[in-house]
């Protein structure tokens, strides 16, 4: 299968890119891991639709990318594309605190995804904790699914959220609409969980709350692995792009969270630009400042990095505790000596944690992009 443009990720950025590229080209592929388009957060929303004329490949995991470009997928074999748009989104930042690995604690987006795929939460007491605008969206979705949301804790003090919202009044209706769905739910600012033990969350400040589930998310980490595998340059942990969303590798474009955490509107604008640029259309300039302001408003309180105890597990795949990592000076050294980051998630979870807690930065990405059956790696796609 050969396409003019292949788009990785059918979230807001990928869908916008598909729409823009589809205006000019009849040969656009949109590829996503999930059953439906929309991305981690907006999946299933009624206004999400794959543009007509675009070939949509749902439930299609890309496990390798080769120059030129070749995409190796689990379910559709090798696909070729002249141009590539990476709209790979972001994952949650999880931070360790005593009890964060026991049953009952979830990633906030992770719990939302489980609910979408059928986990019953009716009548369950859920606390949503962490940082960022997504917490409120997750809490609202959980309540709609029947959960008793017992509280939202946001680590940012109210004094920083108010000026941020004041600067972006366009976001207010959305914020109020979500809040309206959460009437009666306490929203504790400047607060975070410090411990979870036998169904009891202890919050900073000392309050304890009984819950069935604790859903945590301390912001977003960009999914840059696909870009790194292709050799795209990163800048401060994000994929570096020019004003047309093109990366340092010619023909590879990147849109949405991997180029800077900015949420829905930024993703839609990025995607439009990337899709247009990849098909030779004129491109609107970027508006910029929101990403920086969002990061400044929701930047993490350093006290969050001191919650873990020496015995608190940091790498869940290989069961490595913080105290085991302390003697080492860098990620690769710790990885070699403790096997931290060597498990199935390949450091996707613990890499960002050690970045926050220990100041380490993870190294280059190795094939495959996702765990894949050995049989698929044994097929030499480059040989006729």
């Amino acid at each position: 299968m050969k396409f003019d443009v292949a788009i990785l990720g059918a979230g807001p950025a990928g869908l916008a890119a598909a729409r823009a590229a589809g205006r000019r080209s009849a040969s656009v592929a949109l590829i996503d891991d999930n059953v439906t388009a929309g991305g981690q957060i907006w999946r299933g929303a009624p206004r999400i639709a794959v543009p007509t004329g675009v070939r949509f490949f749902p439930q299609t995991r890309v496990f390798d990318l080769r120059p030129g470009f070749m995409l190796l997928t689990e379910s559709h074999g090798a696909m070729e594309a002249s141009r590539l748009i990476l709209a790979t989104g972001a994952r949650e930042l999880l931070l360790p605190f005593p009890g964060w690995t026991v049953p009952g604690v979830f990633g906030a987006g992770g719990l939302q995804a489980l609910v979408k795929s059928g986990l019953p939460v009716g009548g369950k007491r859920v606390m949503v904790a962490g940082s960022g605008p997504l917490l409120v969206a997750v809490a609202a979705a959980l309540r709609t699914a029947g959960a008793r949301v017992v509280g939202i804790t946001e680590q940012v003090p109210l004094g920083r959220i108010v000026p941020f919202l004041a600067k972006y009044p366009a976001k207010l209706p959305q914020a109020f609409a979500l809040r309206a769905r959460l009437l009666g739910v306490p929203y504790w600012t400047g607060t975070w969980p410090v411990r979870f033990d036998e169904g009891m969350v202890t919050l900073s400040g000392g309050r304890t709350v009984a819950v069935d589930y604790l859903a945590c998310g301390f912001g977003l980490v960009p999914n840059t692995e696909a870009a790194q595998l292709l050799g795209c340059r990163l800048d401060g942990g994000f994929v570096a792009v020019d004003s047309r969303q093109e990366t340092s590798v010619a023909g590879v474009y990147c849109a949405g969270e991997p180029t800077g955490i900015g949420g829905l509107d930024k993703a839609l604008e990025d995607g439009e630009r990337a899709g247009a640029a990849a098909t030779g259309q004129a491109v609107n300039p970027s508006r910029g400042a929101f990403v920086r302001d969002l990061a400044a408003a929701f930047h993490l309180d350093p006290r969050l990095f001191d919650l873990a105890e020496p015995s608190t597990v940091v790498c869940r795949c290989e069961d490595v505790a913080l105290g085991t990592l302390r003697p080492y000076r860098e990620w690769r050294e710790a990885k070699l000596m403790t096997r931290c980051g060597m498990g199935p998630c390949q450091g996707r979870i613990c890499g960002p944690i050690t970045n926050c807690l220990l100041g380490w930065s993870a190294e280059s990405v190795r094939r495959p992009l996702v765990p894949v059956a050995a049989e698929l790696l044994s097929k030499d796609v480059l040989q006729p």
């Binding site: 860098e330 690769r332 050294e333 070699l336 000596m337 403790t338 060597m342 498990g343 199935p344 390949q346 190795r366 094939r367 495959p368 765990p371 894949v372 059956a373 050995a374 049989e375 790696l377 044994s378 097929k379 030499d380 480059l382």
Partner: protein
């Protein structure tokens, strides 16, 4: 100013670390220098299989001696070094290879090494995930596995050697009574003309499948791959980690071959263990062995105060401890613990 050390070792892989350990035990003041992390090069890229090989007498002598040293060291190693006396199962595909296994058995027994011939049924009892129709195999009891990066660090710590992270561009510029080049496949950068060629190998590691393989498994044709000089070769070589993860190898190719051997290597593994097809691979990587024309290491004096400890091909972890004993004897002027002439540097022109 601190006085210059008796011995400066260039290269903090398993071989350099073992040399530091042995020289320090013999009383020398040792320092180690490497541009990368200790144990972070070929040491980390390999499987950590401690294996006696019998392609020729010199190889047998060095591997047997070294595996014995590993067993002596085992009780001192930290738990994270994951020393595991798991043995090796050599797999015979047909009656011809079974005859080879029988010959191997007799060589091992003559050398005082415990080994058991496995018939078809016993092979299945030992390793139920091998495919049907194999002839049998040979279990070599004394072989083992180790997580080499941690062993490397342990040896360096025990040596109390100062370890400096810096690039070395000239051996002659280093101030020390003796300088040891233990930079594996990169040795020719410091010793131009040295008959060491990088020989690339691919490896894959899977998610955890406890019990799927119980011993390191190697096809009897492996020696053909390791010791032949073909430009590209693969052999069935699957090894379980203590966690149940499976390391899948092995491949060999010189620098003039740019083909990916990952695919044929995996295909070879499936031919012996069909169930591997469905196992989830979480990471693949490559590393470089230091290969000499006769596949034996170079251990000893190169010239003046410059010594070599390189060229270990696929046996760097296995033979590191024996290498260190031989080199220490030479530097300090003792008799070597085993005859050292087969590994001497001057067997090749530099």
């Amino acid at each position: 100013m601190t006085p210059s050390p008796d011995v400066m070792i260039v290269g903090a892989g398993i071989v350099g670390a073992a040399c530091a350990y042995e020289l320090a035990r013999a009383g020398a003041r040792v320092e180690v220098i490497d541009s990368g992390l200790p144990g972070g090069g070929a040491t980390a890229a390999g499987m950590g299989h401690l294996v006696v090989l019998d392609d020729n007498e010199a190889e047998l002598a060095l591997t047997k001696y070294s595996v014995g040293l590993w067993h002596s060291l085992a009780k001192e190693l930290p738990a994270a070094a994951e020393f595991w006396g798991c043995g090796t199962v050599w797999v015979a595909a047909d009656e011809v290879e079974m005859a080879g296994a029988l010959a191997k058995l007799s060589v091992y027994r003559q050398n005082g090494l415990a080994a058991e011939l496995l018939d078809e049924r016993q092979l299945y009892e030992a390793e139920p995930n091998l495919r049907a129709g194999l002839a049998g195999g040979l279990l070599v009891n004394g072989d083992a596995m180790v997580y080499a990066p941690v062993a490397t660090r342990f040896l360096l710590e025990q040596s109390k050697a100062k370890v400096t992270r810096a690039a070395v561009t000239s051996l002659d510029d280093l101030k020390a009574g003796a300088v040891v080049c233990a930079t594996g496949a990169m040795a020719p950068a410091l010793v131009p003309g040295l008959r060491v060629r990088p020989r690339k190998g691919y490896l894959a590691i899977t998610d955890r499948y406890p019990g799927f393989a119980r011993h390191p498994l190697v096809e009897l044709g492996y020696l053909q791959s390791a010791h032949g000089d073909s430009n590209e070769s693969v052999a069935f070589n699957v090894q379980p980690r203590p966690t149940g993860q499976l390391l899948i190898g092995s491949s060999r190719q010189y620098a003039d071959s740019t083909a990916s051997l990952l695919e044929p290597m995996l295909a070879r593994a499936f031919a012996y263990m069909p169930g591997l097809r469905a196992c989830s691979v979480i990471r693949t990587w490559t590393g470089f062995r230091a290969s000499t024309p006769d596949k034996l290491p170079m251990i000893g004096r190169l010239r003046d105060r410059i010594y070599l400890a390189t060229g270990h091909e696929g046996l760097g972890v296995t033979t590191s401890l024996g290498t260190a004993k031989i080199l220490t004897a030479e530097i300090l002027g003792y008799a070597p613990p085993i005859p050292a002439w087969p590994y001497r540097v001057e067997r090749f022109d530099v």
